[in-house]
Protein backbone atom coordinates (compact mmCIF):
# COMPACT_ATOMS: atom_id res chain seq x y z
CA UNK A 1 0.00 0.00 0.00
CA UNK A 2 2.69 2.46 0.95
CA UNK A 3 4.78 2.10 -2.15
CA UNK A 4 1.65 2.04 -4.24
CA UNK A 5 0.53 5.38 -2.84
CA UNK A 6 3.91 7.02 -3.15
CA UNK A 7 5.19 5.40 -6.29
CA UNK A 8 6.66 7.62 -8.97
CA UNK A 9 7.01 6.76 -12.61
CA UNK A 10 10.75 6.99 -12.80
CA UNK A 11 12.07 6.22 -16.19
CA UNK A 12 15.69 5.56 -17.07
CA UNK A 13 15.22 7.05 -20.52
CA UNK A 14 14.10 10.57 -19.70
CA UNK A 15 13.40 11.54 -23.29
CA UNK A 16 11.15 8.50 -23.72
CA UNK A 17 9.12 9.53 -20.67
CA UNK A 18 8.98 13.13 -21.95
CA UNK A 19 7.65 11.88 -25.30
CA UNK A 20 5.08 9.64 -23.59
CA UNK A 21 3.79 12.47 -21.42
CA UNK A 22 3.78 14.92 -24.33
CA UNK A 23 1.92 12.47 -26.57
CA UNK A 24 -1.12 12.53 -24.28
CA UNK A 25 -0.83 16.10 -23.00
CA UNK A 26 -3.32 18.66 -24.28
CA UNK A 27 -0.50 21.00 -25.34
CA UNK A 28 3.25 20.59 -26.01
CA UNK A 29 5.52 20.65 -22.94
CA UNK A 30 7.88 23.32 -24.25
CA UNK A 31 7.67 26.71 -25.92
CA UNK A 32 10.09 29.26 -27.35
CA UNK A 33 9.47 32.99 -27.19
CA UNK A 34 11.62 35.34 -29.26
CA UNK A 35 11.46 38.48 -27.16
CA UNK A 36 13.10 40.70 -29.76
CA UNK A 37 14.43 40.58 -33.31
CA UNK A 38 16.93 43.32 -32.57
CA UNK A 39 20.56 42.38 -32.12
CA UNK A 40 23.76 44.19 -31.23
CA UNK A 41 25.84 41.75 -33.29
CA UNK A 42 25.98 41.14 -37.03
CA UNK A 43 26.56 37.39 -37.45
CA UNK A 44 26.09 36.95 -41.21
CA UNK A 45 24.65 33.39 -40.96
CA UNK A 46 21.74 34.35 -38.65
CA UNK A 47 18.19 33.29 -39.57
CA UNK A 48 16.62 36.37 -37.99
CA UNK A 49 16.16 39.09 -40.59
CA UNK A 50 18.12 42.25 -40.03
CA UNK A 51 16.86 44.59 -38.87
CA UNK A 52 13.73 43.13 -37.27
CA UNK A 53 10.73 45.15 -38.39
CA UNK A 54 7.68 43.45 -36.93
CA UNK A 55 7.51 45.11 -33.51
CA UNK A 56 7.94 43.54 -30.13
CA UNK A 57 5.56 42.29 -27.47
CA UNK A 58 5.51 44.41 -24.32
CA UNK A 59 6.39 43.05 -20.88
CA UNK A 60 2.73 42.68 -19.94
CA UNK A 61 1.85 40.97 -23.24
CA UNK A 62 4.61 38.42 -22.62
CA UNK A 63 3.53 37.91 -19.00
CA UNK A 64 -0.01 37.34 -20.20
CA UNK A 65 1.33 34.76 -22.65
CA UNK A 66 3.26 33.06 -19.81
CA UNK A 67 0.01 32.69 -17.87
CA UNK A 68 -1.60 31.02 -20.86
CA UNK A 69 1.37 28.70 -21.42
CA UNK A 70 1.47 27.75 -17.74
CA UNK A 71 -2.27 26.93 -17.80
CA UNK A 72 -1.69 24.88 -20.95
CA UNK A 73 0.91 22.74 -19.12
CA UNK A 74 4.16 23.99 -20.67
CA UNK A 75 7.18 23.06 -18.55
CA UNK A 76 10.22 24.35 -20.47
CA UNK A 77 10.28 27.93 -21.63
CA UNK A 78 13.08 29.30 -23.79
CA UNK A 79 13.63 32.99 -24.38
CA UNK A 80 15.52 33.78 -27.55
CA UNK A 81 16.00 36.65 -29.98
CA UNK A 82 17.62 38.56 -31.68
CA UNK A 83 19.54 39.37 -28.55
CA UNK A 84 17.20 39.12 -25.55
CA UNK A 85 19.58 41.14 -23.36
CA UNK A 86 18.73 44.23 -25.43
CA UNK A 87 15.48 44.28 -23.47
CA UNK A 88 15.87 46.07 -20.15
CA UNK A 89 13.11 43.83 -18.73
CA UNK A 90 14.97 40.55 -19.41
CA UNK A 91 15.57 39.63 -15.73
CA UNK A 92 11.96 40.56 -15.00
CA UNK A 93 10.77 38.24 -17.77
CA UNK A 94 12.94 35.42 -16.41
CA UNK A 95 11.54 35.95 -12.95
CA UNK A 96 7.97 36.08 -14.25
CA UNK A 97 8.50 32.70 -15.91
CA UNK A 98 10.32 31.10 -12.96
CA UNK A 99 7.61 32.13 -10.51
CA UNK A 100 5.08 30.49 -12.82
CA UNK A 101 7.07 27.26 -12.42
CA UNK A 102 8.61 27.04 -15.86
CA UNK A 103 12.14 25.77 -16.24
CA UNK A 104 13.58 28.88 -17.88
CA UNK A 105 16.21 28.72 -20.63
CA UNK A 106 17.85 31.69 -22.31
CA UNK A 107 19.62 31.84 -25.68
CA UNK A 108 21.94 34.79 -25.83
CA UNK A 109 25.30 35.78 -27.31
CA UNK A 110 26.10 37.00 -23.76
CA UNK A 111 27.94 39.89 -25.41
CA UNK A 112 25.89 42.41 -23.41
CA UNK A 113 26.15 40.57 -20.10
CA UNK A 114 28.67 41.35 -17.38
CA UNK A 115 29.09 39.06 -14.40
CA UNK A 116 26.59 41.01 -12.35
CA UNK A 117 23.96 40.57 -15.08
CA UNK A 118 24.66 36.83 -15.11
CA UNK A 119 24.16 36.77 -11.33
CA UNK A 120 20.91 38.71 -11.70
CA UNK A 121 19.60 36.21 -14.23
CA UNK A 122 20.54 33.33 -11.94
CA UNK A 123 18.83 35.01 -9.00
CA UNK A 124 15.76 35.63 -11.16
CA UNK A 125 15.48 31.86 -11.60
CA UNK A 126 17.21 31.11 -14.91
CA UNK A 127 18.00 27.38 -15.21
CA UNK A 128 19.96 27.31 -18.46
CA UNK A 129 22.10 29.86 -20.29
CA UNK A 130 22.73 28.84 -23.89
CA UNK A 131 25.51 30.74 -25.65
CA UNK A 132 26.90 30.37 -29.17
CA UNK A 133 30.63 29.91 -29.71
CA UNK A 134 31.94 30.02 -33.28
CA UNK A 135 35.60 29.35 -32.58
CA UNK A 136 37.98 28.48 -29.79
CA UNK A 137 40.04 31.45 -31.02
CA UNK A 138 38.67 34.72 -29.58
CA UNK A 139 39.66 36.88 -32.55
CA UNK A 140 37.90 34.57 -35.07
CA UNK A 141 34.68 34.56 -33.05
CA UNK A 142 34.78 38.34 -32.55
CA UNK A 143 35.48 38.93 -36.20
CA UNK A 144 32.50 36.81 -37.29
CA UNK A 145 29.99 38.37 -34.87
CA UNK A 146 31.37 41.85 -35.47
CA UNK A 147 32.26 42.82 -31.90
CA UNK A 148 35.61 42.88 -30.13
CA UNK A 149 35.46 41.19 -26.75
CA UNK A 150 32.33 39.14 -27.57
CA UNK A 151 34.13 35.78 -27.16
CA UNK A 152 35.46 36.74 -23.74
CA UNK A 153 32.02 37.85 -22.57
CA UNK A 154 30.54 34.57 -23.83
CA UNK A 155 33.12 32.43 -22.06
CA UNK A 156 33.06 34.49 -18.85
CA UNK A 157 29.26 34.31 -18.74
CA UNK A 158 29.24 30.55 -19.25
CA UNK A 159 31.87 30.11 -16.55
CA UNK A 160 30.01 32.33 -14.09
CA UNK A 161 26.62 30.75 -14.75
CA UNK A 162 28.02 27.27 -14.31
CA UNK A 163 29.77 28.29 -11.07
CA UNK A 164 26.44 29.57 -9.71
CA UNK A 165 24.95 26.11 -10.30
CA UNK A 166 23.16 26.59 -13.63
CA UNK A 167 23.38 24.74 -16.93
CA UNK A 168 25.84 26.54 -19.20
CA UNK A 169 25.21 25.17 -22.68
CA UNK A 170 27.14 25.96 -25.82
CA UNK A 171 25.64 26.04 -29.30
CA UNK A 172 28.04 25.58 -32.17
CA UNK A 173 27.12 26.08 -35.80
CA UNK A 174 29.63 24.35 -38.05
CA UNK A 175 30.23 26.45 -41.15
CA UNK A 176 32.71 26.36 -43.99
CA UNK A 177 35.00 28.90 -42.29
CA UNK A 178 35.04 27.33 -38.79
CA UNK A 179 34.54 23.60 -39.44
CA UNK A 180 38.19 22.90 -38.66
CA UNK A 181 37.80 24.55 -35.22
CA UNK A 182 34.72 22.58 -34.11
CA UNK A 183 36.65 19.77 -32.40
CA UNK A 184 38.65 22.34 -30.44
CA UNK A 185 35.43 24.12 -29.35
CA UNK A 186 34.00 20.78 -28.24
CA UNK A 187 37.24 20.05 -26.32
CA UNK A 188 36.85 23.34 -24.48
CA UNK A 189 33.22 22.52 -23.66
CA UNK A 190 34.22 19.14 -22.28
CA UNK A 191 37.05 20.63 -20.21
CA UNK A 192 34.57 23.05 -18.63
CA UNK A 193 31.73 20.58 -18.34
CA UNK A 194 29.49 22.67 -20.59
CA UNK A 195 26.97 20.56 -22.51
CA UNK A 196 27.06 21.41 -26.22
CA UNK A 197 25.05 21.12 -29.40
CA UNK A 198 26.78 21.14 -32.77
CA UNK A 199 24.62 21.96 -35.76
CA UNK A 200 25.87 21.41 -39.30
CA UNK A 201 22.77 22.98 -40.81
CA UNK A 202 22.63 26.62 -41.90
CA UNK A 203 19.11 27.75 -42.79
CA UNK A 204 17.80 30.60 -44.87
CA UNK A 205 16.55 33.65 -42.95
CA UNK A 206 13.00 33.87 -41.64
CA UNK A 207 12.13 36.16 -44.55
CA UNK A 208 13.63 33.88 -47.16
CA UNK A 209 17.04 35.40 -47.80
CA UNK A 210 19.54 32.80 -48.99
CA UNK A 211 22.48 34.93 -47.78
CA UNK A 212 23.40 32.64 -44.84
CA UNK A 213 23.69 29.66 -47.22
CA UNK A 214 27.11 30.81 -48.40
CA UNK A 215 28.45 29.54 -45.06
CA UNK A 216 27.19 25.98 -45.49
CA UNK A 217 29.78 23.22 -45.12
CA UNK A 218 30.66 21.12 -48.16
CA UNK A 219 30.67 17.32 -48.25
CA UNK A 220 34.36 16.96 -47.40
CA UNK A 221 33.86 19.13 -44.32
CA UNK A 222 30.84 17.08 -43.18
CA UNK A 223 32.86 13.89 -43.52
CA UNK A 224 35.73 15.37 -41.53
CA UNK A 225 33.40 16.80 -38.87
CA UNK A 226 31.53 13.57 -38.35
CA UNK A 227 34.75 11.64 -38.00
CA UNK A 228 34.61 13.06 -34.47
CA UNK A 229 32.30 10.52 -32.88
CA UNK A 230 31.25 12.98 -30.17
CA UNK A 231 29.02 14.52 -32.83
CA UNK A 232 25.81 12.60 -33.32
CA UNK A 233 22.87 13.35 -35.49
CA UNK A 234 19.47 13.51 -33.81
CA UNK A 235 17.45 12.76 -36.93
CA UNK A 236 18.84 9.33 -37.59
CA UNK A 237 16.23 6.66 -37.24
CA UNK A 238 14.55 3.98 -39.30
CA UNK A 239 11.79 5.43 -41.47
CA UNK A 240 8.82 3.78 -43.08
CA UNK A 241 6.39 5.38 -45.49
CA UNK A 242 4.20 6.18 -42.49
CA UNK A 243 6.92 7.82 -40.35
CA UNK A 244 6.48 11.45 -39.43
CA UNK A 245 8.88 13.82 -41.17
CA UNK A 246 9.80 16.08 -38.27
CA UNK A 247 8.49 17.41 -35.00
CA UNK A 248 7.18 20.70 -36.37
CA UNK A 249 3.67 21.18 -34.99
CA UNK A 250 4.21 18.44 -32.40
CA UNK A 251 6.95 19.99 -30.29
CA UNK A 252 6.19 23.36 -28.77
CA UNK A 253 5.46 26.59 -30.57
CA UNK A 254 8.00 29.18 -31.65
CA UNK A 255 6.41 32.53 -30.83
CA UNK A 256 8.02 35.41 -32.65
CA UNK A 257 8.67 38.82 -31.15
CA UNK A 258 5.61 40.23 -32.94
CA UNK A 259 3.37 37.50 -31.51
CA UNK A 260 3.16 35.33 -34.64
CA UNK A 261 3.07 31.62 -33.84
CA UNK A 262 5.20 29.31 -35.97
CA UNK A 263 6.02 25.62 -35.61
CA UNK A 264 9.74 26.41 -35.65
CA UNK A 265 12.07 29.17 -36.85
CA UNK A 266 12.70 27.40 -40.17
CA UNK A 267 9.12 27.09 -41.30
CA UNK A 268 7.55 30.45 -42.08
CA UNK A 269 3.93 29.39 -41.80
CA UNK A 270 1.94 31.39 -39.29
CA UNK A 271 -0.66 29.62 -37.16
CA UNK A 272 -2.01 32.95 -35.83
CA UNK A 273 -0.97 35.76 -33.52
CA UNK A 274 -1.06 35.64 -29.72
CA UNK A 275 -1.91 39.33 -29.61
CA UNK A 276 -5.27 38.52 -31.20
CA UNK A 277 -6.15 35.05 -29.91
CA UNK A 278 -5.23 32.74 -26.99
CA UNK A 279 -2.29 30.47 -27.79
CA UNK A 280 -4.20 27.24 -27.09
CA UNK A 281 -6.95 28.22 -29.54
CA UNK A 282 -4.36 29.14 -32.15
CA UNK A 283 -2.47 25.87 -31.71
CA UNK A 284 -5.41 23.52 -31.55
CA UNK A 285 -7.46 25.23 -34.23
CA UNK A 286 -4.77 25.76 -36.82
CA UNK A 287 -5.42 24.31 -40.28
CA UNK A 288 -1.78 25.01 -41.12
CA UNK A 289 -0.71 22.84 -38.21
CA UNK A 290 -3.06 20.06 -39.31
CA UNK A 291 -1.36 20.09 -42.70
CA UNK A 292 2.00 19.67 -40.98
CA UNK A 293 0.79 16.88 -38.69
CA UNK A 294 -0.47 14.86 -41.62
CA UNK A 295 2.90 14.94 -43.38
CA UNK A 296 4.51 11.48 -43.78
CA UNK A 297 7.85 10.30 -45.10
CA UNK A 298 6.26 8.35 -47.90
CA UNK A 299 4.25 11.35 -49.21
CA UNK A 300 7.25 11.87 -51.43
CA UNK A 301 7.93 8.72 -53.44
CA UNK A 302 11.54 9.79 -53.82
CA UNK A 303 11.96 9.95 -50.02
CA UNK A 304 10.00 6.76 -49.40
CA UNK A 305 12.32 4.81 -51.70
CA UNK A 306 15.52 6.63 -50.79
CA UNK A 307 18.66 4.72 -49.83
CA UNK A 308 19.82 7.63 -47.64
CA UNK A 309 16.66 8.08 -45.60
CA UNK A 310 18.14 6.58 -42.42
CA UNK A 311 20.63 9.45 -42.26
CA UNK A 312 18.18 12.10 -43.39
CA UNK A 313 16.76 14.94 -41.30
CA UNK A 314 14.44 16.15 -43.99
CA UNK A 315 13.19 19.64 -43.20
CA UNK A 316 9.91 20.87 -44.68
CA UNK A 317 11.07 24.42 -43.90
CA UNK A 318 14.10 24.08 -46.16
CA UNK A 319 11.89 22.58 -48.86
CA UNK A 320 9.43 25.48 -48.72
CA UNK A 321 12.23 28.00 -49.22
CA UNK A 322 13.95 25.96 -51.90
CA UNK A 323 11.01 25.19 -54.18
CA UNK A 324 7.77 25.93 -52.29
CA UNK A 325 6.56 22.35 -51.73
CA UNK A 326 6.87 21.08 -48.15
CA UNK A 327 6.08 17.51 -49.23
CA UNK A 328 9.10 17.24 -51.52
CA UNK A 329 12.76 16.93 -50.52
CA UNK A 330 15.10 19.86 -50.68
CA UNK A 331 18.45 19.41 -52.39
CA UNK A 332 20.12 20.69 -49.22
CA UNK A 333 18.63 17.89 -47.10
CA UNK A 334 19.57 15.30 -49.72
CA UNK A 335 23.12 16.65 -49.73
CA UNK A 336 23.35 16.41 -45.91
CA UNK A 337 21.93 12.87 -45.84
CA UNK A 338 24.41 11.70 -48.50
CA UNK A 339 27.31 13.36 -46.70
CA UNK A 340 26.31 11.84 -43.33
CA UNK A 341 26.01 8.39 -44.90
CA UNK A 342 29.49 8.74 -46.37
CA UNK A 343 30.90 10.00 -43.08
CA UNK A 344 29.46 7.12 -41.07
CA UNK A 345 30.65 4.57 -43.59
CA UNK A 346 34.16 5.82 -42.85
CA UNK A 347 33.85 5.71 -39.06
Amino acid sequence: MRSDRREESYCTDQSALWDRIEATAPFPLSAIIAVTERCNLSCPHCYVPDPGDGGEMTTSQIVNLLDQLADAGVLKLTYTGGEPALRPDLAELVKAAATRHFEVHLKSSASLLDLEDVDDLWEAGLAELNVSLYSDRPEEHDDFVGLDGAWKRAVDSLTRFKSRGGIARVSVVAMNWNAARVSAIVDRCEENDWPYIVDIRVSVTEDGSMAPCRFRVDEEAVVKLLADDRLVSPGTREKSADSIVCLAGRRGPYIRADGEVWACPSLSWSFGNVLHKPIVEIWNGSKVREKLLSLRWGDSKRCGDCEFKYACERCPGDAVWEHGDHEKPSEYDCFLARARTRAWAGR
Binding site: M1, R2, R5, R6, E7, E8, S9, Y10, C11, Q14, L17, W18, I21, T24, A25, P26, L29, A70, G73, V74, L75, K76, A98, T99, H101, F102, E103, V104, G125, L126, A127, E128, G165, G166, I167
Partner: protein
Protein backbone atom coordinates in the same frame (compact mmCIF):
# COMPACT_ATOMS: atom_id res chain seq x y z
CA UNK B 1 13.09 21.68 15.58
CA UNK B 2 11.56 18.26 15.03
CA UNK B 3 11.68 17.01 11.42
CA UNK B 4 7.88 16.87 11.19
CA UNK B 5 7.71 20.58 11.94
CA UNK B 6 9.96 21.46 9.04
CA UNK B 7 8.72 23.23 5.92
CA UNK B 8 9.99 22.16 2.50
CA UNK B 9 9.44 24.09 -0.70
CA UNK B 10 9.92 23.22 -4.39
CA UNK B 11 13.34 24.17 -5.80
CA UNK B 12 12.65 27.47 -7.61
CA UNK B 13 14.59 26.35 -10.71
CA UNK B 14 12.57 23.26 -11.52
CA UNK B 15 9.39 23.12 -13.54
CA UNK B 16 6.23 21.38 -12.46
CA UNK B 17 2.70 21.15 -13.77
CA UNK B 18 -0.32 18.96 -13.37
CA UNK B 19 -0.83 17.23 -16.68
CA UNK B 20 -3.81 14.93 -17.14
CA UNK B 21 -4.19 14.83 -13.34
CA UNK B 22 -0.59 13.79 -12.55
CA UNK B 23 2.15 16.12 -11.38
CA UNK B 24 5.08 16.19 -13.80
CA UNK B 25 8.38 17.58 -12.54
CA UNK B 26 11.39 18.50 -14.69
CA UNK B 27 14.89 19.22 -13.44
CA UNK B 28 17.21 19.29 -16.44
CA UNK B 29 20.32 20.13 -14.41
CA UNK B 30 19.97 16.78 -12.64
CA UNK B 31 18.64 15.16 -15.81
CA UNK B 32 15.46 14.24 -13.98
CA UNK B 33 11.90 14.00 -15.16
CA UNK B 34 9.25 12.35 -13.04
CA UNK B 35 5.54 11.85 -13.07
CA UNK B 36 3.90 11.48 -9.67
CA UNK B 37 0.90 9.32 -8.97
CA UNK B 38 -2.26 10.91 -7.52
CA UNK B 39 -1.26 10.55 -3.84
CA UNK B 40 2.23 11.86 -4.41
CA UNK B 41 0.67 14.66 -6.44
CA UNK B 42 -1.39 15.69 -3.41
CA UNK B 43 1.73 15.62 -1.23
CA UNK B 44 3.58 17.76 -3.77
CA UNK B 45 0.75 20.27 -4.04
CA UNK B 46 0.91 20.75 -0.29
CA UNK B 47 4.56 21.76 -0.34
CA UNK B 48 3.37 25.33 -0.16
CA UNK B 49 4.50 26.41 3.30
CA UNK B 50 2.88 23.61 5.30
CA UNK B 51 4.91 21.55 7.76
CA UNK B 52 5.42 17.84 7.20
CA UNK B 53 2.86 17.13 9.95
CA UNK B 54 0.31 19.41 8.31
CA UNK B 55 0.79 17.70 4.95
CA UNK B 56 0.23 14.32 6.64
CA UNK B 57 -3.10 15.57 7.95
CA UNK B 58 -4.08 16.72 4.41
CA UNK B 59 -3.23 13.30 3.00
CA UNK B 60 -5.24 11.57 5.74
CA UNK B 61 -8.19 13.79 4.94
CA UNK B 62 -8.12 12.79 1.27
CA UNK B 63 -7.07 9.13 1.46
CA UNK B 64 -8.00 6.44 3.93
CA UNK B 65 -4.75 6.07 5.83
CA UNK B 66 -3.82 6.60 9.45
CA UNK B 67 -1.73 9.59 10.31
CA UNK B 68 1.33 7.64 11.43
CA UNK B 69 1.52 5.80 8.11
CA UNK B 70 0.97 9.01 6.15
CA UNK B 71 3.73 10.69 8.10
CA UNK B 72 6.18 7.85 7.39
CA UNK B 73 5.28 8.04 3.72
CA UNK B 74 5.76 11.75 3.49
CA UNK B 75 9.11 11.73 5.25
CA UNK B 76 10.31 9.05 2.84
CA UNK B 77 8.85 10.91 -0.14
CA UNK B 78 10.56 14.15 0.89
CA UNK B 79 13.86 12.29 1.28
CA UNK B 80 13.50 11.16 -2.35
CA UNK B 81 12.72 14.70 -3.44
CA UNK B 82 15.72 16.15 -1.62
CA UNK B 83 17.99 13.50 -3.12
CA UNK B 84 16.82 14.54 -6.59
CA UNK B 85 17.12 18.25 -5.89
CA UNK B 86 13.38 18.82 -6.29
CA UNK B 87 12.82 20.46 -2.91
CA UNK B 88 14.73 22.63 -0.51
CA UNK B 89 14.19 23.22 3.16
CA UNK B 90 12.45 26.57 3.59
CA UNK B 91 14.91 29.34 4.52
CA UNK B 92 12.66 30.11 7.51
CA UNK B 93 13.73 26.90 9.27
CA UNK B 94 17.24 26.43 7.90
CA UNK B 95 18.67 26.55 11.43
CA UNK B 96 17.35 23.01 11.81
CA UNK B 97 19.69 21.65 9.12
Amino acid sequence: MDSIDRVYLPNPRIAYRKINGDMVIVHTLENKLVRLNPTATVMWENLDGKTVAEIAREVCAQFEVDEEEALRDIVEFIDHLIERGFVEVSPGNSESL
